[in-house]
């Protein structure tokens, strides 16, 4: 090694140290995009949103699905009798379920512009459990139950009235 090069060694070393310390405090070159709420186009076909209040349980979406990834889960009440549950692992995001949904003006099953779908770790068990569940299902079931009770009450009252009227008629 020549003397010139030997003299340059500490200089080069300090240069490198400065560069490393600068890089430590600099902002990251990459960004975490899924926190930013990136807006997609009007028709973007991403994650499903299923509104249990609007659903009438006709299972048109399950019939329209080309890959049979929509399952109709029975609710136990009369209306809706069953609500759709989408297996996100098998879905191809074609949007034909949305086309088939007959509810108006808002559709009960819709594809949103939310496209951040992360399953970690991506094992088969985890992927199989990656399901888009209906929103507000319990409330909808309670509402439906209340409605059914109301209807039954009204029916009973109507029956009682009818019976009373019949009795009166017989008495006359």
């Amino acid at each position: 090694m020549e003397i010139k090069e030997a003299l340059m060694v500490p200089f080069e070393a300090t240069k490198k140290v400065i560069r490393v310390t600068k890089a430590l405090f600099a902002p990251k070159a990459t960004e975490v995009w899924w926190d930013k709420g990136v807006k997609r186009e009007l028709h973007y076909r991403g994650k499903h949103i299923i509104k249990a209040e609007l659903c009438i349980g006709c299972s048109m979406c399950a019939r329209a699905c080309p890959v049979n990834c929509i399952e109709m889960v029975p609710t136990g009440v009369k209306k809706p009798r069953a609500v759709p549950k989408v297996r996100g692992n098998e879905c191809i995001f074609c949007g034909l379920c949305e086309d088939a949904c007959p509810t108006k003006p808002e559709k009960a099953i819709k594809l949103t512009d939310n496209y951040s779908m992360i399953v970690e770790p991506g094992t088969w068990d985890n992927l199989y459990q990656f399901v888009f569940e209906p929103e507000g299902l319990e409330e909808a079931i309670e509402k439906a139950k209340k409605m059914e009770e109301m209807i039954e009450k009204k029916k009973r009252e109507a029956l009682k009235k009818k019976q009373l009227e019949d009795k009166k008629g017989e008495e006359k």
């Binding site: 186009e41 009007l42 028709h43 329209a64 080309p66 949007g95 034909l96 086309d99 594809l111």
Partner: protein
């Protein structure tokens, strides 16, 4: 290895026994050598060509396909009339609009449904967009097999603009599933038209002049491709070439002109033909069709009528059969659709142009140099998705 040549009808011709330090060199003793061009080759795609070479000259080529077989034709039988499009469009991801249009027209023919004019025009715009997207990749990969990867990158930049337009229209960039029996699925909004115009502008004003300057009429490119894989007009018809490869041999066959579908009958465009019939002519046909497609898109956008974009398609379709040909990016794509009066197709047979080109290829590849194999392969402009289906 040796036995496969023997089964193919080739005999071993032992030229000389070569021994290196007392060790038998085996393969070098055979006159005919079988090479596997493909699967791992960067230009081949998911496919293998068994190439028998005599020195540097190709004696015989035998394509080995089936790596991306998805049974699309069979899967369609388990679908309804509407949602069968997701299987049809997956014949090839590059130009999915052509296949969807063909299937939809066939289904409409059986059902006796008339499509609104607006849907026809939107289909035309989308089909031409798909053709441009596909041709861009075709151009890029043709120069790419010769070792220059810049045109592919340029083509991908131009392609991106079209994909943006497709996303605005349907919500997906590649598997759009946007054309259904009875029309198109979405309203062609102003934003979609705007993005399409932006994409065509970019193509015509930026991509085409820049590309033309470097990669068309390029002397190095000509050395590699002029006169390679020459097919005469008579032979092209005899071996059943399709699409740009057929037009490069001087046969003006274009379904858009011969049997107009969608809105092609009302638009003004010309069929591009070349007389030479070699690899370079096929490349030029793709190149000039790109310009023609941009013109068609402009015309269709100008003439876009008002009205509905979709009519109701019946759930059950009466019995019947229909055969429809569409001019896909890679040639004439045939759909034979059979209905038995059910809620879905009884049988669908797809006649793919790439498949026809593939089995014409061994004929073209006789007595060429081994280095010309990728050039001829890329110039025939095939898609593995529709070879295997």
């Amino acid at each position: 290895m040796g036995s496969s040549i023997a089964t193919a009808g080739y005999t071993f011709v032992v030229e000389e026994t070569k021994e290196v330090v007392g060790e038998d060199l085996g393969l070098l003793q055979e006159k005919l050598l079988q090479l596997n061009w493909g699967v791992q080759h960067p230009a081949s795609g998911p496919m293998r060509l068994k190439v028998w070479v005599d020195g540097d000259e190709v004696v015989k080529v035998d394509p080995d396909i089936g790596y991306v077989l998805r049974l699309l034709e069979k899967l369609v039988e388990y679908r309804t009339w509407i949602n069968a499009i997701v299987n049809v469009e997956r014949a090839c991801f590059m130009d999915d609009f052509g296949t969807m249009t063909g299937y939809s027209i066939a289904a409409e023919k059986i059902a006796g449904v008339e499509v609104p004019k607006k849907a026809d025009y939107v289909r035309t715009i989308l089909c031409e967009g798909g053709r441009i997207v596909s041709h861009l990749i075709g151009l890029g990969s043709f120069v790419g097999v010769m070792g220059v990867h810049t045109p592919m990158q340029w083509a991908l930049i131009a392609r991106e603009k079209f994909l943006d337009a497709f996303e605005t229209f349907s919500g997906q960039r590649i598997a759009t599933s946007s054309i259904v029996p009875g029309g198109v699925r979405y309203e062609p909004t102003g934003k979609f038209i705007e993005k399409m115009v932006v994409a065509v502008d970019y193509l015509e004003k930026e991509f085409i002049p820049r590309y033309e300057e470097v990669f068309v009429d390029n002397p190095t490119l000509k050395i590699r491709s002029v006169g390679v894989g020459k097919v005469s007009k008579e032979k092209a018809i005899e071996i059943g070439l399709a699409g740009p490869a057929l037009r490069a041999s001087g046969v003006a066959s274009d379904i858009r002109k011969d049997y107009p579908y969608a809105a092609y009958g009302e638009l003004d465009f010309k069929v591009i033909t070349k007389e030479e019939g070699d690899s370079y002519a096929r490349y030029l046909v793709i190149w000039e069709e790109l310009k023609e497609s941009a013109k068609i898109i402009r015309q269709a956008i100008e003439g876009l009528p008002e009205g509905d974009y979709r009519t109701k398609f019946p759930i059950k379709v009466p019995q019947g059969e229909a055969y429809v040909n569409v001019e896909w990016a890679r040639g004439c794509f045939g759909f034979h659709l059979v209905s038995e009066g059910g809620t879905g197709p009884y049988r669908l047979k797809m006649r793919a142009p790439s498949f026809a080109n593939l089995w014409a290829m061994p004929e073209i590849m006789k007595n060429v140099k081994l280095a010309d194999v990728p050039v001829i392969f890329a110039s025939l402009y095939m898609c593995h998705g529709d070879i295997d289906r």
